[in-house]
């Protein structure tokens, strides 16, 4: 039937409940992981790579499974996911800016002494 595709749309996103429980458990484990990083005072580069890794994994699982992005068409996925990627570039720019601002401030305050 020509209608088959449309009927599937009307029914909406239907997935077995097990997926939600698995993702839920995984999110718990990942959160516990990032809390443990702080609790056991993991420092410097290892700390940051772990925190960012857990963060990205959590965000990815929430968007992909809870928000059903995994089962959407690419047209929507790209429209929603690409703009935040550009924000990451903005983020990089601001990090460089911050270093520069810090350097100028540091210089200014040390000259005042």
């Amino acid at each position: 039937m020509a209608q088959a595709g449309d009927t599937a749309h009307v029914e909406g996103q239907q997935h077995p409940i097990g997926i939600y429980f698995k993702v839920w458990g995984l999110l718990f484990v990942l959160s516990a992981g990032s809390y443990a990083v702080d609790y056991y005072h993991v420092e410097s580069y290892l700390r940051w790579s772990l925190i960012l890794l857990f963060m990205m994994l959590k965000a990815g699982f929430i968007v992909a499974y809870f928000m059903h992005m995994r089962w959407e068409r690419l047209a929507l996925i790209y429209a929603i996911i690409l703009p935040p990627v550009l924000v990451l570039i903005f983020m990089g720019l601001m990090t460089f800016e911050a270093d520069y601002t810090f350097f100028t401030r540091d210089l200014f305050f040390s000259m005042g002494k």
């Binding site: 020509a2 595709g5 857990f54 809870f66 068409r73 690419l74 935040p84 924000v87």
Partner: protein, 241 residues
Amino acid sequence: MTDTTLTESSHVAPKPDGMKGFVNDWSSDQRAFKNVSWGKAMMWIFLLSDTFIFSCFLLSYMKVRMSTTVPWPHSSEVFALSFGGEPIPLILIAIMTFILISSSGTMAMAVMFGYKKDRRTTAILMLVTALFGASFVGMQVFEWTKLIVEEGVRPWGNPMGAAQFGSTFFMITGFHGFHVSIGVIFLLIVARKVWRGDYDRETRGFFTSRKGNYESVEVMGLYWHFVDLVWVFIFAFFYLW
């Protein structure tokens, strides 16, 4: 019946997937989001704009924190809480994180039961989600009170270090808490509609006067998961830094 009106459809190949499907959808000179209703697409676009707002907050916080010459207060110690004994670092924040994740889990299942047209389970799961959300806001109120009254943190300064700590903290968590509060109200409204069977009877909404269906639960879920998503980033950048 429908075959007569869709005479052209016999020529139309099924929508291709992957990159080709992406190009086809966007260049089709029609709606770009083929199997997504307007309500869902608009919720996604709203969430995208909200992402920009939160990104701006987090970015400015990040820049301020990196460029200040005064030491930043130790979030691990500031947000520590003791239950009679030694203070446990970030314990309240960890509990809040788990509560919000659990609320996301119950919401995802509410969406599933909604599409199964199981009104009772959907409404109950949404109420549980709202309850989790309300307790999250309650804990945030407790946290703010402790910070303002006991630690003396103000938007313009605090006794522990960089003055910007207060302004960024109140701005970011305040905006997030506001989102959670609105979400709880939104949840209660949709849960009431589910409970009454508005989506089974396709009752017209009083605001849009359009026929409702169970997709509203999914759209509501998108908003709720987004609130959880933002907390993931706040947790990493504000509390764990």
